[in-house]
């Protein structure tokens, strides 16, 4: 958008005459280039010079989506006709020429992605190039491109580990690499385990990475299915995840990413969500035992963190769940009332929420 996070310091000085004249010249250059390029596209002049004009303008303004469309028209034309035997030869192109065209354009995008990592159109164009490659090249040639993309997106996520374009692109890359047509013989088709380990790595670098926790929540059910995990294996997996998140919560009890992941794990015990959880066959009795244990563990976290609203929030959630499961309350009414009292004090922004929930509980 126009001015996210542009500080007050920039652009405040009144422009001098000279600045104004300079700006007018820039406008003239920019508009001249745009008009000239649009004219060439209308006339189907899909040559190198026109292509270079799109490069120049896109480096200037990658948000100008029509220019990307122009560029794709030229590239499609080149894919069709580019040939080492000369521009007037209509015979189909050889794969080396295609590979270098695609590869050059992928290289062109890298500095742009680094400079404008949140620009939808750049990611879109990259995705388009890879899709074109899939249609034009052999499976093994395309696979090489996708493998390079995996390395690139890893670098992008190292620069900004919360970039949702990056995470989305990563899922696209993985999906493509897993697609049957691209599988070289003898290779394992699933990359779920590798991606799961990647989220562990990202979380270990920064516990507050909600993007990584989120991706983990999407990968676990898939991973367990692929492992053909039975009930016991699934429970063990859940235990390990609970242990991981609890260790993290001890380190950062104010971190909402962690509490949301904890909430995700606790969903397993909620009959409303059990069927889609990581232990779909968990029994009511097993769930109650888990919830009891969770209440005790979360209560322990209060020690020294009495002003952490998330703990009270979680305890209320767990207490309500326990009640739903067995119709009994695990903690005394006065405790639960006390949690609401704390939240009213500590979390006044969300008073309406606490009043609603308090009204619904009948202890």
């Amino acid at each position: 958008m126009a001015s996210h996070g542009v500080p007050r310091a920039s652009g405040v000085q009144p422009a001098t005459d000279q600045d104004w004249r300079k700006e007018q010249q820039k406008i003239k250059d920019y508009k001249g280039l745009v008009d000239s390029l649009n004219g060439r596209i209308r006339e189907h002049q899909f040559n190198t010079e026109t292509f270079e004009m799109t490069s120049k303008l896109l480096k200037w303004n990658p948000e100008y989506y029509t220019l990307w469309n122009h560029r794709r028209l030229i590239l499609r034309h080149r894919f069709q006709y580019s040939n080492s035997r000369g521009p007037n030869d209509d015979s189909p192109p050889n794969h080396e020429a295609l590979i270098s065209l695609i590869s050059d354009d992928l290289v062109f995008l890298i500095p742009l992605l680094r400079k404008f990592p949140k620009c939808y159109w750049i990611w879109k164009h990259r995705r388009w190039l890879l899709d074109e490659a899939s249609g034009l090249l052999t499976a093994s040639e395309t696979r090489k491109f996708w493998q390079q993309e995996l390395a690139l997106v890893g670098k992008m996520l190292n620069l900004d580990s919360r970039n949702f374009h990056g995470w989305g692109y990563r899922r696209t890359v993985i999906e493509a690499l897993e697609r049957d047509a691209l599988q070289a013989e003898g290779l394992s088709t699933s990359m779920t385990r590798q991606e799961f380990d990647y989220t562990t790595k990202m979380i270990n670098t920064n516990l507050s990475n909600f993007s990584a926790w989120h991706n983990r929540s999407k990968l676990i059910p898939k991973l367990l299915d692929e492992m053909k995990a039975d009930h016991q294996v699934r429970k063990k997996f859940l235990d390990d995840e609970l242990e991981l998140i609890e260790r993290a919560l001890w380190a950062g009890p104010e971190d909402q990413s962690l509490w949301f992941y904890h909430q995700y794990l606790v969903c397993t015990f909620d009959p409303k969500y059990t069927a889609d959880s990581m232990v779909p066959e968990i029994t009511g009795a097993e769930s109650m035992a888990y919830v009891r244990k969770e209440i005790m563990k979360v209560r322990e976290m209060l020690d020294g963190a009495e002003d952490c609203k998330w703990i009270y929030q979680s305890l209320i959630h767990l207490d309500r769940l326990y009640h739903e499961l067995g119709n009994d309350w695990f903690e005394e009414a006065s405790h639960i009332e006390g949690y609401f009292d704390e939240l009213t004090k500590l979390d006044s922004l969300r008073l309406g929420k606490w009043n609603d929930l308090r009204g619904r509980i009948n202890i």
Binding site: M1, A2, S3, H4, I27, T66, R72, R171, F260, D356
Partner: protein, 324 residues
Amino acid sequence: MSLVSGPGRGGASTGHVPDEIKLVVEKHVEYIQTLDTRQDELEYWLTEHLRLNGVYWGLTALHLLGHPEALPRLATIDFVLSSQHESGGFGAAPGHDAHMLYTVSAVQILGTVDALEELDRRGKAGREKVGQYIADLQSQETGSFAGDEWGETDTRFLYGALNALSLLHMLHLVDIPKAVTYIQNCANFDGGYGVSPGAESHAGQIFTCVGALAIAGRLDLVDRDRLGGWLSERQLPNGGLSGRPEKLEDVCYSWWVASSLAMIDRLHWIDRDKLSQFILQCQDSEKGGIADRPGDMVDVFHTVFGLAGLSLIGFPGLVAVDPI
């Protein structure tokens, strides 16, 4: 109309903030009216690809401010029609390719100034064709919508399609149940929605998904408490709202978060007074316009979403806005 940011800045970034800040209605009207006079700024031209969105944002802001007449109606209609293609779709400005994002803005603008019939009278394509352009971007297979013929699907396009088609009374042109299924596939454990299946929850995408479900009459599918809980945690101690956990507040989320909460009857789960104080602090009370955060440069995008947020929470002096 342009998206040129500045010239002013929203409020004070540091130091004393008065308790009682007024909404400077006249200044905001003036700010929007003068946006199109800034053609000697390079940024005016570098933001041309957003022009039609900009007109929609400016026009909506003026309607919220109670000054719908502040932009010339006829010139607005003429500009919209000049951005149309024979396919029925609209580009951001004359000479820009057709795309869902601008087609939706075009329909919204024409709807706002009560001029949809102008499409049949003097558009390059009539209402029926505009509806068909949008409908043809739906994938028969998944129910999602592409932005244009170059692919890329995104829940923003799905919401835009349903919004525009409902204004055109042409929802029958698309497969609503399939679109609804697609939205459900974008749902996450936290009750929120992402940009595509598998993507993390993001307040902007939540607005598009919940809005689309509202238009489709399927809000029953939303996990209200869970989503309401996640959305209410977007409010930060200064009253502003963020788009995702551990992110900074930004005025535009005053709309995406608050309207989503309103659609699921949970708007009272955040502190509305603190939110309005935050938005007012982002105003430039001298030259008009609203910025993303106090101290930053103003622009028309943050101006409309700040005003829409204020209107939604019932701030006096503004015309009431529909959360969908």
